[in-house]
């Protein structure tokens, strides 16, 4: 059970003046149950890549296998794939259209062929997960605040109960509290249900805090692929492609340069705290 990409390339508007090679020979394996962070500078091809994973965009060349089956095979059921690989777009609130919140979230499950009751059941559950209480169910989605709309839109995909959940910058434009709530919820889902999560993000802190594997894109190519501490070790290189490491990485590196015995691979505040306290303790003993 996994997604495998083999030599995937994609070109927008081929053979015109606007030709853009958005993906160049991407090879990836995404096993079940991983929490993956996808980072990269603006225009590096992240959104294009994730749209390949549920078959919305067809690779110009290369193959994609979902659970061992070639998704470009002739009789492959793309709609079923889209139910299994849920994709939350960048600014998903722009896709809301129904008269009330509940019906909008029901759209996905209904398209999967569920009965109205089952769909409602799923929708309620999904809404609860994203923290939208029942009193909003009958409200028009257009009367909600931006953050609430975002949650409803995310619920719209969650209600399909995908095996792989992809979120394209789900927290862009949200306040810190809303951001943490949504990410915590996703992390909880990942742990409880064991679903695979791919998080596209510009925030190195978020990525370092939640994910177990980072894929770095640069100009349509995979630049790095590994655990956060491995990837952030290349923080100088990340900077050269318009990215950065989490703030704490800089702190621990500076401390290290100043002669403190800290772990330079610390990427989250917790880890940094541990290693800095540890270093001070050792130093204290020596004094």
């Amino acid at each position: 059970m996994s997604i495998v990409l083999e030599h995937v390339s994609y070109t927008y508007s081929p053979e015109t003046a606007y030709e853009i090679h958005a993906l160049k020979d991407v090879n990836l394996e995404i096993p079940d149950g991983q929490f993956i962070g996808l980072i990269g500078h603006t225009g590096s091809g992240k959104s294009t890549l994730v749209q390949h994973l549920n078959g919305l965009v067809r690779a110009t060349s290369g193959h994609i296998y979902f659970n061992g089956e070639d998704i470009y095979a002739k009789d492959y059921d793309m709609r079923r794939l889209r139910g299994k690989v849920g994709l939350v777009f960048q600014y998903p609130e722009h896709q809301l259209f129904e008269v009330d919140v509940l019906s909008d979230v029901c759209f996905g499950p209904k398209n999967q062929g569920l009965s109205p009751e089952e769909a409602k059941e799923r929708a309620r559950e999904a809404l609860r997960m994203v923290g939208i209480s029942e009193e909003y169910e009958k409200q028009s989605p257009f009367e909600l605040s931006g953050g609430q709309k975002r949650r409803v839109a995310i619920a719209g995909v969650l209600a399909m109960e995908p095996e792989v959940l992809i979120l394209d910058e789900p927290t862009a434009g949200l306040d810190p509290k809303g951001r943490d709530e949504i990410l915590d919820e996703i992390s909880y889902l990942h742990k409880e249900r064991g679903i695979t999560v791919i998080l596209v993000s510009h925030s190195m802190e978020d990525v370092a805090k939640y994910v177990e594997r980072i894929i770095v894109m640069n100009q349509g190519e995979v630049l790095h692929d590994g655990a956060p501490r491995e990837v952030f070790r290349h923080y100088k290189e990340l900077e050269s492609v318009g990215l950065a490491a989490p703030q704490v990485t800089y702190i621990v590196h500076t401390l290290k340069d100043k002669g403190f015995d800290v772990d330079g691979d610390a990427t989250t505040i917790e880890e940094a705290k541990e290693t800095i306290l540890e270093a001070f303790r050792k130093k204290g003993r020596k004094l």
Partner: protein, 267 residues
């Protein structure tokens, strides 16, 4: 599929056609269209064909890019073709199928009508492909300037036109995005009967309209914030001025029209 509509889209390239004054291109397009409707007989079409293909070559816009715009009018083209083919009475019946008949005249009209339509679209696409929307409205505004005396709101109309043109690609992109987002939720735009398909458009059209209104109100706000208040007393950063090549272009255009008229009168 949605990106195939080339009408109203600019194709950046460095050619004489791109550098021409927009007024020349506008007048040129109008003259070309007038010419098309004056044509009678093969000779005229031959001249128009040579003229049009020469222009395409000069414009440096790839031929494929221009033809792509034709796909969208294919249906209209087909309908015109069929109607003209079967419903034009003529002297000689070429083919008879049940009650329908194709006459020599019908065949003639159908072919010429099709050529005319295709050239019409290509001609006007060529103008929009080689002229930025800003230039285009600038040209239009200057050309229609005299109408201001008759209290026609020329500036406002051309501003609306330029905004409309500018928004075509944006709305197409938006459509593409929303379509994908709904497809990710299992929406199906391709299958089903007519009613089902019409229904399936609701999840596309509602967000599209909302986004169009949002963009419109944002734009209005931004224009007001920069003190836009219509054409009254507004000057231009780059006033249009004819160069030598523009006069040459006018010359060529008049020559083209003259040849067409001559052919019509003589043959």
């Amino acid at each position: 599929m949605i990106r195939d509509i080339t009408l109203g889209q600019y194709y950046p390239a460095d050619s004489i056609l791109h550098r021409l004054d927009p007024r020349v291109k506008l007048m040129g397009t109008i003259l070309f269209l007038v010419g098309l409707f004056l044509i009678k007989g093969w000779a005229g079409y031959a001249v128009a064909t040579v003229f049009l293909f020469a222009m395409i070559r000069i414009s440096k816009v790839p031929f494929r890019f221009i033809v792509r715009g034709l796909k969208t009018i294919f249906i209209i083209l087909l309908i015109t073709l069929v109607f003209n083919l079967f419903l034009t009475p003529g002297d000689r019946v070429l083919v008879q199928i049940w009650k329908l008949q194709i006459t020599d005249k019908g065949l003639n009209t159908a072919i010429f009508m099709a050529i005319r339509l295709i050239y019409l679209i290509i001609g006007s696409s060529l103008m929009t492909l080689t002229t930025t929307p800003n230039d285009l409205t600038d040209g239009l505004e200057t050309l229609l300037g005299p109408l201001k005396k008759l209290h026609v709101p020329v500036h406002e109309v051309s501003m609306m036109m330029s905004i409309a043109l500018r928004f075509i690609p944006i709305l197409l992109e938006e459509t593409d995005k929303i379509m994908k987002a709904q497809m990710a939720r299992g929406a199906d735009f391709e299958h089903g009967n007519l009613i089902q398909r019409a229904k399936s458009l609701v999840p596309l059209l509602v967000p599209l309209f909302i986004s169009a209104f949002r963009r419109a109100s944002d734009l209005a706000m931004a224009m007001e914030a920069r003190c836009y208040r219509g054409g009254e007393g507004r000057t231009k950063m780059k006033p249009l001025a004819y160069a030598r090549r523009d006069y040459c272009a006018y010359g060529i255009l008049i020559l083209f029209l003259a040849v067409i008229i001559a052919l019509r009168v003589l043959l």
